[in-house]
Homo-oligomer: 353 residues x 2
């Protein structure tokens, strides 16, 4: 009799409590006025029947969805999953739910995911844009009133808050540190794909964080008088086999390369394995610095020197900024740079020779 519909509504509670739908809605929604007696009757009825509000309907009415959308490159990567945790924790504390999706670092997937999230009427978006030159989908989100915060990446073309590491500066300071230890010939290795296996132009690097690190790398190399620094940027380190081939090239190169920079912790692990397999000893034969303080960097011997990117904090800050926007902050978009200090563990040594 009573259970003809799938789930109960305010109307059911209202009639059970002998009040109008509006009154029941008011006390259940926690807004407007209601007498103490009415309130008690409604709450008692709701409890007894096991009423659960329908947030979908509420969102339709209010226009607010209570959802924020997140698009990261790859949730499997600890870099992002830590950031996601930071976002989740902060969002939840503010009563917001989080929908997460992956772009697999591909612009078509990123567009698709943003579109899906927009259709779900998310209140705001946190995105790690995979290509700084293709931001139209994010621009139009902003135009249509959905605030966007970019994570780990940034573009001057996009009027959105950004939370990033200080990539250019940290690349420079790492390189200077290495130069101080006598390393003139340093290579930068990234999983970014390219035809030639070497860097064409820094402008061709879609992920702004990587581009800025490379720019810093090139600037510091130039300044130290390193020859052909652009030839020292190796791309396509997408798996163990490809990375092993890069290591072979590196080891064969003359003048001898004495230090390696890994663009992220996955590349770092691949480099470490390839070097170890070839009997190269760290840091005696080769120095190594990896971006991101991943777990694995502290179980090797020696432990790996890293550029520490506190991505949980990235996530927290990004969520905080977004929440501020959702509360109506309309000040100028801000770019928040989070320091990413070098933690020199055991893989920076004096340059051999």
């Amino acid at each position: 009799m009573s259970t003809k519909k799938s789930r109960l509504t305010v109307a059911d509670v209202a009639s059970a409590a002998n009040v109008s739908k509006a009154t029941a809605a008011r006390v259940l929604g926690g807004y407007g006025l209601a007498s103490e007696t009415a309130r008690k009757a409604v709450l008692e009825a709701a409890e007894r029947l096991g009423y659960q509000p329908n947030d979908l309907a509420r969102s339709m009415s209010t226009g607010r969805s209570g959802l924020i959308g997140v698009v990261v490159g790859d949730i499997e990567n600890a870099f992002f999953s830590l950031a996601v945790r930071g976002i989740s924790d902060t969002a939840r504390a503010a009563g917001l739910n989080v929908i997460i999706s992956n772009s697999s670092e591909q612009i078509t997937e990123e567009r698709e995911m943003v579109s899906v999230l927009l259709r779900q009427r998310v209140a705001g978006l946190i995105v790690a844009p995979t290509d700084a030159r293709q931001l139209d989908h994010l621009k139009s989100a902003i135009t249509s009133g959905v605030p966007v915060v970019t994570l780990d990446r940034w573009s001057p073309d996009l009027p959105a808050d950004a939370v990033c590491g200080d990539d250019r500066a940290s690349a420079i300071s790492v390189l200077q540190h290495l130069q101080g230890a006598g390393h003139l010939h340093v290579a930068y290795v990234t999983a970014m794909t390219s035809r030639s296996g070497r860097l064409s132009a820094p402008e061709d690097v879609g992920i702004s964080a990587v581009r800025e690190r490379i720019e810093g790398f090139l600037a510091a190399s130039d300044q130290a008088g390193a020859p052909t620094p652009r030839q020292m940027v190796f791309t396509n380190a997408t798996d163990d086999a490809a990375t092993a081939r890069i290591v072979d090239k590196v080891l064969a190169q003359s003048p001898r390369i004495t230090a390696l920079l890994a663009s992220d912790s996955l590349v770092g692990a691949r480099l470490f394995r390839a070097l170890t397999n070839r009997g190269v000893r760290l840091p005696r034969d080769m120095s190594l610095v990896s971006w991101f303080d991943a777990d694995w960097t502290r179980v090797t011997s020696p432990q790996i020197s890293v550029v520490d990117q506190p991505t949980y904090l990235f996530g927290q800050r990004a969520a905080e900024r977004l929440i501020r926007r959702l509360k109506g902050d309309t000040t100028e978009p801000q770019r928040l740079l989070i320091p990413t200090p070098l933690i020199d563990r055991g893989t920076i040594g004096p340059a051999p020779l």
Copy 2:
């Protein structure tokens, strides 16, 4: 003039195309009939205006939300983030979106998250229940018509599909393997918290996967004639310091413990660090096997022997099962056991003495 409301609706498109709302809805929604001319007019207008459907409203109308809710113990843990990736990929391919939340392995948080997801009217739930003895919230979800699939964990009390590793069997086979190498005194180390630091009773282990592994461990120990196997289960390995204390206890114990089982890869890494710090050499002085084939297990030397839990596959299978349920499958709930083979890399050696 034209842009008075925040976003456009079918009505806007309809009037722009000079058709009725109903007709516009039909072609935009891809249901019902429409003449070729009407269809063209509507699509053209939608394109021109930049119409984007409102999935919230659609969900309200249809009752289907197109969302599935996921509650894992900790998204930072590669075990879960891999599984989440498997879920996401599979769900997306079926046109479903995924809302992810963390329980932090605490039942109150798990309850809260399930409740939030239910209010969002998710179509189904994938949960890694943190306590097999507290499942009422999941039961009532099922009762109210929301299918549930449990991930990595399982309870006979819950009428839900489950996708798990074969924990009991793999624990037994690992122990037998160790026994074959002469190890009689083996310890099991877990991050589960307990007052005493040792196992009281297996029934007190809330996470069913861990309980089953411990049961297997105890059974195989008993059968091999190991004395007081229950004393060989060490709890509270929640961080490096606590784990180091456990290692001290282990090393001090007599008869000498010659092999360690790590309940997950975080515990494994902590054990590895503590052992290494103390100059214990693997596998000469101590053998070590960790559950989960985490990244870090292949950069140590020697590489770590692991029980391989293919959690991406766990996620895929769980999503597939859920999708099947959403399509109306009402057959008996099934428990899918996924093999978790031992990969013996370099940390199982002959027992010393």
